[in-house]
Amino acid sequence: MVRYIVKRLFQGLPLLLVISITLFLLMMNIGDPIATMGGRTITRQSDRERLTRQLGLDKPISVQYLYWLIGNDWTKVDSDGDGIPDNYGTRHGILRGDFGTSLVTRKPVTELIGERIPNTLLLMVASEVVTVFFALLFGIYSALRQYSVMDNIMTALLFIAYSMPIFFVSLMSMYIFAVLFKKWGLPYLPTVGMFDPQVGKTPWQIFIHMILPVFSLSVTYFAAYSRYIRSTMLEVLSQDYVRTARSKGLPRRQVVYIHALKNAALPIVTVIGLDLPFLLGGAVVTERIFAWPGMGRLFLDHVSRSDLPVVMGILMLVATAVVVFQIITDIIYAWLDPRIRFD
């Protein structure tokens, strides 16, 4: 088991290396980070030349990548612009846990990301929970009542939900639950931010600010998951062992929730497990619309200023999470499915 995990991790490393090189190459051409450093005015020539040198942006791309990967504290760099390397660099490289420093804010990338991860996870885990909970409810319900009127209505509704672009759901829900409700004198929901500063960051505030973004995020995923769970359940319910269980006179509850769901759980757990790491990246569009201070917005803010360390940091974090979660999902799957053993 341990050997399997180690083996898988080592298989993941070259993959991450390839990803990092590819992304780094892309980063080189996404814009000029110094262009917007002057604030509202154009960066002066002298500042531009100095910053380019100080930030190491004048180095060849291979060197920049190397510094990003393993740091530059082993070599001398030229900090004063006289062309002679004078001081040892201060970067440790991503392999040693140093994601670098944001070009824009001059804060360590790990700190920037660290500040946002809890917010993103709060939003995303909440919507994942809502999604999976209702998807299980709906998916199992309509699988058990295949072809019933309710099943047909739900299938059609799920299709519409599944086809909804997230921004459209967001705008519609904002319009209805905030704008129209307010107009009608109903209790209305806040649309942006994480809490109302007048009230403070109370759990209740966070909760009501989460409702609309969680709703918007959940609609599409809920539809996809429901359809998946429904078809998985249908497939499992048509299996011989379910017929066996029924022929034994087991109560329906036991047939569905023990015999069928336990088998259906395998693919469902897999899908959820593989989706989880993507939650880290947050929902770019949703976070933007609802002004949620998460990773997605961090990404947008910094990609628009070509802040390579932050953008790379977020992307590599997500990519690594995907690799790790694949392994975790495999392990959980094997643990759940007695037919699979590592040894």
Binding site: G31, I34, T43, R106, V192, Q198, T202, L336
Partner: protein, 564 residues
């Protein structure tokens, strides 16, 4: 083991609920985390006793340190907790703040040759930890700025100062190689030497100083309290402030990412102050009783014309054709309709500086017929009747590039149609700001020679000083000068000489004369076409009183603000 597994089996759902609890507990633990919950206004003593105002910023500041800050919002926020050598009032006139008087030729603060400037500091000024602010802090701030080990955002104009003497704690003597008008932009924020010198000594740089993002010691009317990235920052009254204390107890800054969110908050009364209000939001705000205040800050939205033998469309080399272009676009109607009549069409790059825009330059009037006549006279006629004028087989097709900001795209669309009406085809292009302003070295679009018209909002570089530099011949980019900013490739000898001349004219009257000449050249040769004035637009809640703004140091009288 087996039993455990079947439990887990049953708990596919429960597993997820577990993570829900994880999320939930994260939510509940959040308030305890940053600062104490007791500091959050609502949970504190009766809110009525404490005066808290909420400002909404559409952009988060980057670093708080004056050395590292970039961007307008950071500079503005410094007004709360940091201090400038001199402040500017609502007329954008400077007045002494940390110094006893503004240096001038008359009071001897500026030497006859303009190479030495002496600042006399007040003796009652102090940091929020009660340490006095001395000439050493000034010298240290300057030295840190130009130290190559610090990756500061800009070393201009500090790099014009060759050395600083501090004969005593209240005297700062600045030495220059050449007289420079840019001295007025020095000491826009200072850093505490007694806090940061040890950091610099230990780390060899201030880049990673904790103070940058968590300035425990400041010198403004408020102290920094906390900052949560992406959400909010808080400032509380500095009880050790050396001037009259502020009336409002606490400033809460909320980061909202877009204008809609900001408007919503302002209308709902969730925010008391908003900055950078787009004109499209103004009616809603006014309707809700929010006051809109505009303050000239030097900026004007304008079209920069590229005039280059090498790159430009041949037609654009003809000054009459450029005039025709200016006359073909109806900026007044655009400002009336889209900008809701809140701003006028500026005729001059110095529109916000009446002293230098004298005699005032008027924009070219919207006159499509006149434009057609000019174009006809210049030989640009539609000889092949395809709807677009041409000359010597060259069609009159020019490019207009801008960033992706919506109102610019709207102007582009309007201009495209209006230019088409006079027979000029306008291709419009948009880029993200970091791509649009990329350098010649990075093959940025403005330097590619493709864009005959380049649009953005800009200001004289040392506002309220009228200095400009883009149009200098030395700024024309080339392989040898890859960072040059003259993306218009305009090297006009007369203009170049005048720009150089004004930069070292420390006498305002002489300066006014030079700038007026430049102003007139800009107009006559049509190097820049004003689109709309771009003042700071503030939305102020009606419950705030005593509010004044400056276009340079917006919160110069923040201590006098109060809540009704």
């Amino acid at each position: 083991m087996n039993h455990m597994k079947s439990v887990l089996f049953l708990m596919v759902v429960a597993m997820l609920l577990l993570s829900a609890c994880g999320g939930g507990s994260a939510a509940t633990s959040v308030p305890e985390q940053p600062g104490d919950a007791t500091e959050v206004p609502a949970t504190d003593a009766p809110a009525s006793e404490k005066k808290v105002v909420t400002f909404s910023w559409t952009q988060e500041f980057t670093s708080l340190s004056p050395l590292y800050s970039t961007g307008w919002f950071t500079a503005v926020t410094q007004q709360f907790w940091n201090c400038w050598a001199w402040n500017y009032d609502e007329n954008n006139e400077p007045y002494p703040y940390l110094v006893t008087e503004m240096p001038s030729f008359e009071n001897g603060g500026i030497s006859e040759d303009g190479l030495t400037i002496t600042l006399h500091l007040r003796d009652d000024i102090k940091w929020s930890d009660n340490e006095p602010i001395t000439s050493e802090d000034f010298r240290f701030s300057w030295a840190m700025n130009i130290d190559p080990k610090n990756i500061v955002s800009s070393t201009y104009p500090e790099d014009l100062v060759t050395s600083i003497d501090t004969p005593d704690a209240q005297t700062v003597v600045l030495h220059f190689d050449t007289p420079s008008v840019a001295w007025q932009s020095l000491f826009t924020g200072i850093v505490p030497a007694h806090i940061l010198q040890p950091v610099y000594d230990a780390e060899g740089t201030l880049d990673n100083a904790e103070w940058n993002n968590n300035p425990s010691v400041g010198c403004g009317p408020y102290n920094f309290a906390e900052w949560e990235s992406g959400s909010y920052a808080r400032f509380v009254r500095n009880d050790n402030y050396f001037d009259a204390p502020a009336k409002i107890d606490e400033i809460f800054i909320r980061f909202v990412p877009d204008d809609t969110a900001q408007t919503t908050a302002l209308v709902a009364g969730d925010a008391d102050l908003g900055a950078f209000i787009p004109y499209s939001e103004v009616p809603r705000l006014k309707e809700a009783g929010v006051e809109i205040m505009t303050q000239p800050s030097g900026f004007n939205e304008g079209i920069f014309l590229q005039v280059s033998e090498d790159f430009s469309h041949p037609a654009m080399l003809d000054v009459n054709v450029r005039k025709a272009v200016a006359m073909s676009i109806d900026f007044d109607s655009f400002n009336q309709d889209v900008n809701l009549g809140l701003v006028k069409t500026p005729g001059s790059f110095w529109d916000a500086l009446p002293y230098y825009n004298d005699p005032p330059v008027e924009p070219y009037p919207y006159d499509p017929e006149g434009a057609k006549a000019l174009l006809d006279a210049a030989g640009w006629v539609d000889s092949n009747e395809d709807g677009t004028r041409d000359k010597d087989g060259v069609e009159f097709i020019i490019q207009h590039g801008a960033t992706t900001r919506e109102v610019r795209q709207e102007l582009q669309a309007v201009a495209q149609q209006q230019l088409a009406d006079v027979g000029i085809e306008l291709e419009i292009l948009n880029f993200d700001a970091d791509l649009f302003f990329a350098t010649y070295a990075d093959a940025g679009p403005t330097y590619s020679g493709e864009l005959d018209l380049q649009e953005w909002s800009d200001t004289p570089s040392g506002f309220p000083d009228p200095d400009i530099y883009y149009w200098l011949c030395s700024e024309v980019p080339s392989d040898d000068n890859p960072s040059g900013t003259n993306s218009f490739y305009i090297c006009d000898e007369e203009l170049d000489a005048l720009i150089q001349e004004q930069a070292s004219q420390l006498d305002p009257a002489e300066r006014q004369e030079t700038v007026s000449k430049i102003n007139q050249i800009f107009h006559d040769k049509v190097y820049w076409i004003g689109a709309w004035q771009d003042p700071d637009v503030w939305a102020v809640s009606s419950r705030l009183t005593g509010v004044k703004f400056s276009g340079v140091t917006p919160f110069f009288n923040i201590t006098e603000w109060d809540i009704k």
